[in-house]
């Protein structure tokens, strides 16, 4: 009986309290980490103070700053965010942002209030403990605040919505972005006290309007992380690419890569923590670790989004060839760009910069088209040309069909289907990661020059030091050019077998695979990609080093090679 009486008391007390309590839990500061009172749920809290509002507000004798501010100000001078792509002009924090920083810059004791003596905190805490809640006075790794966000900025930036399009609960304070534009210090129904959910970067998208983004795989992919460290989403509660969206790469506070608030510095780490087999479909990291690669690891802080399309300061980063805001899975035929090359700057065949490449080779031309820092050509030749753009011009006496088709019936019989006289190739037909299942593109290869297949070039000017011909030795060439026909002399140079098999001369000794620019070569001396390797092929006894095309599959050579004087020899 007594127990029943007790139960009824507890029950009635519960009925009285619970509805209100649940209401409070869902909506108020009480159950958040911002309840710094002794009743707060967080680890940073007062040792005995019961009032909740008092840490920030007081009804009387507040600081002159609204809203009835009660916390001692920091007075710090902050290092501000800046970047080459920043059009806004952040000033020292003002408005309500300095109120937040009174605790979150870590310089002022949390219990240092104005209306009365300091409030002591439990566990010996005084200022904000180090960690992601402590922004420090270096705000260069945090999303900027206290800048004017108006239509002028929106227009100048081109990737920001007009502020009139920003809808509640995201809001500006006056015309400025402040901490409270994204955060509501009084409620934590999302996470991180955000005013609205950051799922699928809804909060970011309230202001940011990135070109290409809506069709990007980084927006739409439902792929998840397999749990193998490192966690690409260490800073969010979300578990798919689509839900992490911007935060796949960016971190709005305490960003490892300050410029553009990337998760990490160096740059490639932002990509490779997913593209390492742990989240993305293809493992690019494996390719990037091969001996011959576009070495994204070798450069840090050199790439700049506003740099010239023709790269001046030598470097390569993932984002030089890929636009992470734009990448998608659409396909195309050479030479048109594919989805993973969408929205990447380039240099067109005329040598002019383009904001977004139309053709895949235009992206390669950013570095491989006469840049002053470019390394010497891999092979010393009669005609020296390191500008690939000139080598591939369709007006050249001979060229591989990268910019346009050869339309040369002579080579057709020796091509392996589906290649024809009208075929156009991507650069990646030859330069790509080795391995049949590797991700497309020239990430890295076990073969020099990032060749997709083996392409041996050794030729020591003697037979002994040459390369033993085999299907594997020249697998790259033989993937398009019919080995049997070539070596039989059918429909091609009839002495191929003698040179390549008997004399062990590699393809590369006589042929310059990209092409010979019409500004340097001509149809007589440089047809069929002939441009001799001058470390192997020397002038004839008459002092002449020259190939002469004498019509269909006829010609003669003046040279000395492997001890054999051609002065000339004809075929």
């Amino acid at each position: 009986m007594m127990r029943n009486w007790l139960s009824k008391m507890i029950l009635s007390a519960g009925c009285f309290c619970c509805p209100g309590y649940i209401h409070i839990q869902a909506q108020t500061i009480v159950n958040t980490r911002h309840n710094l009172s002794v009743s707060g749920p967080g680890t940073v809290k007062a040792s005995s103070e019961s009032e909740i509002c008092i840490f920030c507000h007081t009804p009387h004798n507040s600081s002159p700053l609204p809203p009835l501010w009660n916390h001692a100000n920091s007075g710090s001078v902050y290092t501000l965010y800046s970047s080459s792509t920043l059009n806004a002009l952040p000033g020292q924090p003002d408005g309500t942002s300095i109120l937040c920083l009174a605790c979150h810059d870590g310089t002022v004791a949390l219990g240092n209030i104005l209306s009365r003596g300091p409030i002591s905190f439990s566990a010996g805490v005084t200022t904000m403990p180090a960690g992601n809640k402590n922004l420090t006075t270096d705000l260069s790794d945090d999303h900027p605040v206290s800048f004017l966000y108006n239509a002028v900025l929106s227009t100048a930036d081109g990737q920001l919505k007009n502020p009139s399009a920003i809808t509640s609960p995201v809001h500006l304070e006056g015309e400025k972005v402040q901490c409270i534009s994204c955060h509501d210090p009084h409620q934590n129904s999302t996470s991180s006290f955000l005013v609205t959910t950051s799922q699928a970067s809804a909060l970011c998208m309230s202001c940011h309007d990135r070109t290409y983004w809506n069709t990007s795989t980084h927006k739409t992919s439902t792929r998840t992380w397999n749990g193998t460290a490192p966690n690409p989403w260490f800073h969010t509660p979300y578990t798919t690419v689509a839900n992490n969206a911007c935060e796949n790469c960016h971190n709005p506070h305490n960003a490892g890569g300050k410029l553009r608030l990337m998760k990490y510095q160096p740059e490639e780490n932002n990509c490779l923590d997913c593209h390492n087999g742990n989240a993305a479909g293809k493992n690019v990291q494996t390719q990037q670790l091969k001996t011959y690669r576009h070495d994204v690891f070798a450069y840090t802080g050199v790439h700049d989004p506003v740099e010239n399309a023709s790269i001046v300061n030598r470097h390569v980063e993932c984002v030089d060839c890929h636009n992470p805001h734009a990448v998608n899975s659409s396909t195309a035929s050479a030479p048109a760009i594919k989805g993973f090359e969408t929205g990447v700057s380039g240099i067109n065949q005329a040598g002019n910069p383009v904001a977004a490449a139309t053709y895949s080779y235009e992206i390669c031309y950013k570095c491989h088209a006469g840049n002053t820092w470019a390394p010497a050509a891999a092979t010393a030749r009669q005609i020296v040309q390191s500008n690939v753009r000139l080598e591939f011009a369709t007006t050249n006496p001979s060229f591989h069909p990268v910019v346009g088709p050869r339309n040369n019936a002579e080579v057709v019989p020796n091509l392996i289907a589906p290649n024809t006289a009208t075929t156009v190739l991507y650069c990646t037909a030859c330069h790509a990661s080795d391995g049949a299942t590797s991700p497309a593109g020239p990430h890295g290869s076990i073969y020099p020059q990032i060749m997709k297949l083996q392409y041996l070039k050794a030729d020591g000017n003697t037979t002994a030091s040459g390369t033993t011909e085999s299907a594997a030795a020249y697998a790259l060439c033989y993937s398009c050019h019919n080995r049997t026909n070539l070596l039989a002399g059918n429909n091609s140079f009839p002495e191929h077998s003698k040179h390549v098999v008997s004399e062990r001369t590699p393809c590369n000794t006589c042929h310059d695979p990209h092409g010979i620019s019409s500004t340097q070569g001509n149809a007589t001396n440089n047809s069929s990609l002939v441009n001799f390797n001058t470390t192997v092929v020397k002038p004839s006894s008459g002092g002449i080093l020259r190939f002469e095309d004498q019509g269909s599959r006829r010609g003669r050579c003046y040279l000395t090679c492997h001890g054999q004087n051609h002065n000339p020899l004809s075929y």
């Binding site: 009480v30 019961s50 009032e51 009387h60 408005g95 409620q187």
Partner: protein, 208 residues
């Protein structure tokens, strides 16, 4: 069984005591009977503010007012997130400020006009009310809706037996007396209307 019953009874007794404790101005901060400046006959308590006869009507609806009224023009609270319209303190708030703005001497009641004792320290709000919670503004359902961070005063319980409107507003307005009971009926520190433990008083109105 018996210890349980005893514990319950003790809890119940404490609960009742808290509710029913008879609090009074006597002995409170507003008991001026021991203040040197209170030169009234017998150092009366009520006379500092009230008189049964010949009361001042300077302030509308003043309850038999006996103290000189402030003539200050106050600097009002403002902020970018304030939705209510601010105006000069009126009604009972103006009466409070007649001591608490520090411009009128404490002993300027009855016929005294030349007092020399003024309120000091944190109790002196001054005429700059921009660092004080606003008063004398209409707090209704419309304001709650507009603000979004205030509870509807007509439907929200005050914790004092009725709604906020019924127990804490005066003519629909928030005044000093919305938070403070000058007569100390609740026996709370700072003459609060009810306990502010866990900021309960603030959170009566603020949906934060």
């Amino acid at each position: 069984m018996k210890p349980v019953k005893n514990v319950c009874l003790v809890i119940a007794a404490l609960f009742c005591f808290q509710l029913m404790q008879a609090q009074t101005i006597v002995g409170s901060k507003h008991d001026f009977s021991t203040q040197a400046w209170n030169t009234s006959v017998g150092q009366q308590i009520c006379i500092v503010c009230h008189t049964p006869h010949n009361a001042s009507t300077t302030v509308t609806d003043a309850p038999l007012w006996n103290h000189a009224s402030t003539a200050s023009t106050f600097t009002l609270y403002s902020s970018s997130t304030l939705n209510s319209t601010m105006s000069q303190p009126d009604a009972s708030s103006k009466l409070c400020l007649s001591c608490h703005d520090g411009t009128v001497a404490l002993e300027n009641f009855g016929t005294t006009t030349n007092g020399t004792h003024f309120i000091t320290s944190v109790y002196n709000l001054g005429s700059g009310l921009n660092n004080d919670h606003p008063v004398s503004f209409t707090y209704d359902a419309a304001l709650a809706t507009t603000d979004g961070g205030l509870k509807n005063p007509t439907t929200t319980a005050s914790g004092l037996g009725g709604t906020i409107s019924q127990n804490m507003l005066f003519g629909g307005k928030m005044q000093c007396a919305s938070c403070h009971d000058v007569h100390n009926s609740a026996g709370q520190p700072k003459l609060l209307l009810k306990s502010n433990a866990a900021s309960a008083l603030c959170l009566t109105c603020h949906a934060k």
